[in-house]
Amino acid sequence: MYSRPSRIGLIVRHALIWIGVIYALFPILWILSASFNPTNNLLEQKLIPANPTLEHYRRLFTDPTIPFPKWVLNTVIVSGTTAVITVFLCALGAYAFSRFRFRGRRAGLLALLLVQMFPQMLAMVAIYLLLIKIKEFVPWLGYNTHPGLIMVYLGGAMGFNTWFMKGYFDTIPRSVEESALVDGATPFQAFLRIVLPLARPILAVVLIIQFITTYSEYVLASILLKGTEMYTLAVGLRFFIQQAYDRRWGVFSAAAILGALLILAIFLPLQKLIISGLTGGAVKE
């Protein structure tokens, strides 16, 4: 599709790519610089800080008025729990859809496909009212609790991931479990001991994507959590910087860098795996 470009053509190509790289990286470099800049004011910032300082990072962890460590902890707990439980529950469901033949299987798969089309946040009013109701009966699972939020996220994660994993399980030949079944293992044992280890790549993909998605979720967390101590990072950071770009830019930048670093540290080394999941899942059918 390409012919060998002339020398000028090659230079133009590299130049275009470099413009793209600057476009891609400028905001990140800019907050990196802000996070080391001694001023907290957006207006006084320079790209290369005059007197670089770690003051903003220190404040994130020492200033009791900025519950940044708490927000990160909340987010990691909520996202981690959601991701782990999602992987396990969806693997179970996907195994059943992939291996068993039962009445309602086709209808179930179709229903799953339809339900996962519905963006869960469209039902935010109902979910909000539902969790307030649940709080009356089970206070630790209702409105303004992390288990409650996790429960909501789990519901939203089931449809797509079950469907996605089923596709992978279908590619694992049945013969690998059959000998175990002949030897008297129950299907559950075969699933746990044989199929799950073989499906490790897809489990990892779902785990990571679910973690990242939950980490970045804003709407439901903002509706269902109240009070700075309960916030996840997304809700907390918005609350922190809103209307305060002139006063908190430096500290905010430090928080943004650290918050993004966690995800970048997961994403960049594993990008091949994640991208195969994100795009493959959609083009597969």
Binding site: M1, Y2, S3, R4, R13, L16, I17, G20, V21, Y23, A24, L25, P27, W30, N41, L42, L43, L92, G93, A96, F97, F100, G108, F118, P119, Q120, M121, L122, A123, M124, V125, A126, Y128, L129, L130, F137, M151, V152, L154, G155, G156, M158, P187, Y215, S216, Y218, V219, A234, Y245, D246, W249, F252, A256, A260, I263, Q271, L278, T279, A282, V283
Partner: protein, 516 residues
């Protein structure tokens, strides 16, 4: 049956027994509360669980049920609930059920024109309990230690008198000083003392007075009678309303049928907002997808060129915006686009001497949003296009080159049509996602700038989903949950249509590609 399976069987039945015992207890509790809907849910859930654990036929369900429970509770049920709420008038002022409103109204009292008044002394004992001695205007005295007013003779020796002859303490209670009375006003106001049929309540800092019940519910007329004015208020459109149209606050929930939907489509103010928001939602989704695809495809085309060196490094750098959590990027960009402080205006000011009112002017705010969203999503488009480009067979190009096609022709005649087949469904998917991309809108502009004279809280950059959020959670007129739910359902219908089109389109394209 060997020992181990006996043990697992035992555990299984033990578990079921425990579960059923707990469920039975909850059912009885709910029966007394009269919460029949929850009772039905719990009952059906327990029966299903028993069936799944005990029946061999339900074996596949044992794998499916754990996930299905969450899917039902947090997606399917909320969908149904949203439909239900969209048919009600649920909003600030109509949040309570009718029974709750009646209970609240029947707890209201009024001060008659000539009330009997009582001066009082308040007392408190070591446990913090309050007691009162009330003296009526005719000199009768009463003692209250609970909710009853009991006539009492103050000459009884248990009442200890001070120098001025008034009671200072009795039975371990000591009299409160005036500042202490002020501190206890909250508790005193809450007191509802009974003197026969009459209610005696605090009327001023120094006095109690007799109150009469204000409202009485008349079940046979479904109305509330105002016992003070003798006016009857009939239940109408979610409020108890008098014949001349005066409403009692608060109102209650009622089903209003499709009124919320009709409001969106026919009420001039709401329809104007809906049309404007819908138009911008479409523009926002289309332009975001178009530009991010254009940029992404451009980079993909450059990076796919085998003659360009360092492609892997470039790719890793260009992908970074995609790896950033979107909420962080959105907040950072919002800072950079800040009109007075942001770096973008600083650069534009230095270069051209202009100051763009990015987040205050509707058009510029929209431009900024699309610019930001392109930055966020072009890497996805780039990855997708790169994959598609790599899957295109080289032989086609060789043949075209032999036939003398220019590289421009080759791109538009071969690359694009083939690329389109695999990318189009993803673009439509991306369109549907952007259509509901609340996070970016909310964290960058929060729907602002506001539109003057809008009937609902719909800003110039609000998309349908953020409009819904505002209607539900931050309207100036309170929370319009019914209307918000109706808009949610309308969005869902739109999304369903887009998905259906996508499905048809994918099939059509597959047929097309097969016949190539």
């Amino acid at each position: 049956m060997n020992g181990r399976s006996l043990l697992t069987q035992g555990l299984k039945y033990g578990f079921v027994a425990l579960l059923d015992a707990a469920a039975l207890w909850a059912v009885i509790a709910l029966l007394f509360r009269g919460d029949y809907i929850l009772l039905a849910v719990l009952g059906i859930g327990t029966l299903l669980l028993n069936f799944v654990i005990l029946s061999r036929r339900a074996y596949p369900l044992r794998f499916l049920l754990p996930g299905l429970v969450f899917l039902f509770a947090m997606v399917v049920y909320p969908i149904g609930y949203t439909v239900n709420v969209s048919l009600t008038n649920l909003q600030t002022g109509n949040l309570l059920t009718k029974a709750q409103v009646i209970a609240q109204l029947e707890g209201r009292y009024y001060l008659p024109p000539q009330p009997e008044t009582f001066t009082f002394w308040a007392f408190r004992n070591a446990q913090g309990k309050l007691a009162l001695i009330l003296t009526a205007s005719d000199g009768r005295t009463f003692l209250s230690q609970g909710n009853e007013l009991v006539p009492v003779d103050l000459s009884d020796p248990r009442f200890v008198r001070g120098e001025d002859g008034t009671v200072t303490s009795f039975d371990g209670y000591t009299r409160l000083t005036l500042p202490e009375v002020y501190q206890s006003l909250g508790a005193l106001e809450a007191l509802d003392l009974r003197l026969g049929e009459e209610h005696v309540r605090l009327t001023s800092v120094r006095e109690f007075g007799t109150f009469l019940r204000k409202y009485q519910y008349l079940p046979d007329q479904d109305a509330v009678l105002d016992l003070e004015t003798n006016v009857t208020y009939y239940a109408k459109e979610g409020y108890f309303t008098s014949p001349d149209g005066v409403r009692i606050e608060p109102g209650f929930q009622i089903y209003v049928g499709f009124r919320n939907y009709l409001d969106v489509l026919t009420n001039p103010g709401i329809r104007a907002d809906f049309t404007r928001v819908f138009g911008w939602t479409l523009a926002w989704s289309f332009l975001s997808v178009f530009f991010s695809f254009a940029v992404g495809l451009g980079f993909a085309y450059l990076l796919n060129d085998p003659y360009v060196r360092g492609r892997f490094v470039y790719r890793s750098l260009l992908i970074i915006p995609y790896a950033m959590p979107a909420f962080i990027s959105a907040l950072v960009w919002a800072g950079m686009f800040n009109t007075d402080l942001g770096v973008i205006n600083r650069v534009l000011g230095d270069l051209f001497g202009v100051k763009v009112r990015w987040l205050q002017d509707p058009m510029w705010a929209r431009t900024a949003l699309i610019f930001i969203n392109v930055w966020l999503t072009y890497p996805y488009m780039m990855i997708v296009s790169l994959g598609a480009l790599q899957s295109i067979s080289q032989e086609l190009f060789e043949a075209a080159r032999v036939d003398g096609a220019t590289s421009w022709q080759r791109f538009w005649r071969i690359t694009m049509p083939l690329l389109w087949v695999s990318v189009a469904p993803l673009l439509i998917g991306s369109f549907a996602f952007t259509f509901n991309n609340f996070t970016i809108i909310w964290l960058v502009t929060a729907g602002r700038p506001a539109v003057l004279g809008a009937a609902t809280p719909a800003g110039a950059t609000d998309i349908l989903i953020s409009w819904t959020y505002r209607l539900a959670f931050e309207g100036e007129r309170g929370n319009q949950l019914g209307l918000a739910s109706a808009v949610s359902i309308i969005i869902f219908i739109i999304i369903a249509v887009i998905s259906a089109v996508n499905f048809r389109f994918t099939r059509a394209l597959e047929d097309v590609s097969r016949s190539v």
